[in-house]
């Protein structure tokens, strides 16, 4: 059962996927549906994953982010993680994701 809510908005070349709640394995399907749309949108140049309202993030979520990183690179788009704070920031630090992602 999923405990995350995902809102996608596109503004000119920037697509924002805002996550709310617990980002874990159960979010898999919703997350995929959300990014699939923006990946296919030729207007979109950058995908921003807004983690500001995420209160927990597990290793499966990290895996999903890695997968998205690969997919965005394949279609020549860029990707950034934004509004990371608290627990989310900690998890990203431990995983050393700053070496892999643009984090703003």
């Amino acid at each position: 059962m999923s405990t995350v809510q995902i809102k996608t908005s596109v503004e000119s070349n920037n697509a924002k996927i805002a996550m709310v709640g617990r980002f874990d394995f159960n979010s898999h399907r919703q997350f995929r549906e959300a990014y699939q749309q923006v990946l296919e949108n030729p207007e979109v140049k950058e995908i921003e994953i807004d983690l500001g309202a995420v209160d927990y993030l597990d290793s499966s979520a990290l895996g999903m982010l890695l997968l998205l990183r690969e997919k965005t690179a394949a279609v020549h788009k860029s990707m950034a993680l934004t509004n990371c704070r608290g627990v989310v920031q900690q998890v990203l630090d431990v995983a050393n994701f700053n070496k892999l992602f643009t984090i703003r």
Binding site: G63, L66, L67, A95, N96
Partner: protein, 570 residues
């Protein structure tokens, strides 16, 4: 319902029996008749009807009792029972339902109502049957699944324990979130008796996470037994996981090598919570935060195999964790947290730390199933004296085959290494691998590894890289020394190291001659020649003194940049 039903009609009045059965036959169903409760029981057993129409007042055994008996005798087989009753009081209907009936029709029987009720009851019976079938299938599936999980669990346990180093100074606690833990803890010895540890945590938990870590096990044990350094092992693990696993799967890992005689720890932490070295007084002497992404994320070119080094002056304990203990949640969804964990480890008496931490985690979670696998690994540095020399349980099939090949071999290997090779090749394991190919008896492996290591490091560090080993005796000296070594090697432009290894017979003895020559300035070797190993307390001098102890002959040539030793094979 198109299906033909078999309906048991129970009544002691012949005209009723006839009327009802004829009507049911006309509806296309089959009938079985009984004239009292006892007969009804018997027919129920032999005929297995789909529905029972039961009169209440009958000789021998009445309808209530017969119904109660049927329900008692066949608790798992639900067949609807409908009372046909002249009694029309509410209390009678209630009693009928209480003894296990499902419906009732009052006499005189209205045949239209009877038909409708039969349809309703058979519809319910149909659903009931479907549920039973589904339940059976689910149970079958669950049993099958259970058997497969048990097999997998057995295999994974065997695989991860195959080469495991057993020692009471090394402990591991694991609490899986499901049948399987995606966490593993491995310990093994190198040929030079260094200890390698690995605590790995595959993405997710359960079987899929356990599958993630299987490739890790083989690489770790295999490369450790060949004497590769943990940085080389980390590199290979990363390559293998990246190659085998899909992008979203990776393995957080802490790799440690422990040199007990020099009291040095090397740690590589990618994605795990900090590893902690806590002395006996409860002071955290060193912690190693995750310095890299987990294994299986970076490509070979991006991967950083850099380890962090620590030299312990006072005895202590090294703790390794997966993220499970830190993120364990209690009933209020509150995390256990790194702070609480450190507080327990630093305040509990040293001999009770491990137990207190386990107990605190257990009471924090208080029976709530874990979200993720929990793992804690511990090693005492130095190892507890009672069992000071660890031994590994390994099966060595090689030894037998070697015993068979009795004829002695004669061979010689010459190597010339320039800076580009010195920077990229892990030379000692490579030499040792050749020795294996040359069927060097495994009894000699440890000693030969040690000699190679000492001679190689001596030639590289002091001959080619021009490092001063007196650095090591300063506070923080080991760290500085290794840092300098790393830098000098990275910047190395000139220098040659020549190695010759030869197997021969001299004065009726089988020997192996090892010759190392470097392009450096040499050194004053007279002091080394005359010292013995027990007298030498300096870490630097000890290496060559050890070699001297293992070999029948040790000779320096030129300015000291050339060394030749003979190791006895018989």
């Amino acid at each position: 319902m198109p299906k033909q039903l078999k309906i048991l009609v129970v009544d002691d009045t012949e005209p009723n029996l006839l009327l009802v059965s004829k009507f049911i036959n006309k509806l296309g169903h089959q009938t079985v008749l009984a004239r009292n409760g006892l007969e009804a029981l018997e027919k129920f057993r032999t005929e297995s009807p789909d529905l029972v129409l039961m009169d209440v007042m009958m000789p021998e055994m009445d309808g209530y009792e017969a119904t109660a008996k049927i329900r008692e005798l066949y608790p798992n087989k639900w067949v609807p029972i409908m009372f046909l009753t002249a009694k029309s009081q509410d209390a009678d209907h209630v009693k009928g339902i209480q003894v296990g009936g499902d419906d009732y029709i009052t006499k005189p029987i209205n045949l239209v109502i009877l038909e409708a009720r039969i349809k309703a009851v058979t519809r319910i019976a149909g659903m009931q049957r479907q549920i039973l079938e589904n339940t059976e299938q689910l149970e079958l599936y669950r049993d099958e699944n259970e058997r497969e999980l048990q097999l997998a669990q057995h295999l994974i346990k065997k695989i991860t324990h195959y080469d495991h180093l057993e020692h009471h100074s090394i402990r591991f606690w694991n609490k899986p979130a499901q049948h399987f833990s995606g966490d593993i803890f491995l310990a093994a010895l190198t040929p030079a008796d260094e200890i390698h540890l690995l605590l790995a945590d595959g993405t997710g938990h359960g079987l899929s996470a356990a599958l993630n870590v299987i490739p890790v096990v083989e690489v770790f044990y295999g490369m450790t037994s060949k004497g590769f350094a943990i940085s080389t092992i980390a590199q290979e693990l990363n390559r293998k996981i990246k190659q085998l696993m899909p992008t979203e799967r990776f393995v957080a890992a802490t790799l440690v090598s422990i040199n007990l005689s020099d009291r040095i720890l090397h740690v590589w932490n990618g994605g795990n919570p900090p590893a902690l070295f806590i002395d006996d007084q409860g002071v955290i002497q060193r912690s190693w935060n995750s310095a890299h992404p987990a294994l299986g994320i970076f490509s070979e070119a991006e991967f950083d195999a850099g380890t962090e080094l620590f030299h312990w002056d006072e005895p202590g304990q090294l703790y390794l964790f997966s993220d499970g203990p830190i993120e364990a949640r209690n009933a209020n969804s509150e995390e256990f947290g790194l702070q609480r964990l450190q507080q327990i480890l630093t305040s509990a008496p040293v001999e009770q730390r491990f137990e207190q931490l386990m107990a605190a985690l257990d009471s924090h979670m208080d029976g709530i199933p874990a979200h993720d696998d929990l793992s804690i690994g511990l090693i005492q540095c130095p190892l507890n004296a009672a069992e000071d020399s660890p031994r590994q349980e390994t099966v060595d099939a090689q030894q037998e085959s070697q015993a068979l090949s009795a004829s002695p071999c004669r061979w010689k290997i010459s190597l010339r290494l320039t800076p580009s090779e010195l920077k990229t090749i892990d030379v000692v394991p490579m030499l040792l691998a050749w020795m294996d190919q040359m069927r060097l008896n495994t009894n000699h492996r440890g000693q030969v590894f040690l000699i190679f290591t000492e001679l190689f490091n001596n030639a590289l560090d002091h001959g080619i890289l021009n490092l001063d080993s007196s650095l090591k005796s300063a506070p923080d000296g080991f760290e500085q020394y290794f840092e300098q070594r790393h830098q000098h090697l990275a910047n190395l432009q000139h220098g040659v190291l020549e190695i010759e290894v030869e197997r021969l017979r001299q004065q009726n003895h089988e020997i192996m001659r090892m010759h190392f020559k470097d392009s450096g300035n040499g050194f004053d070797y007279s002091s080394i020649i005359n010292s013995d190993v027990s007298a030498s307390t300096r870490p630097s001098g000890r290496g060559l003194a050890l070699v001297k102890n293992l070999c029948t002959r040790i000779e320096f040539a030129g300015n000291g940049s050339e060394i030749s030793v003979c190791y006895p094979l018989d």
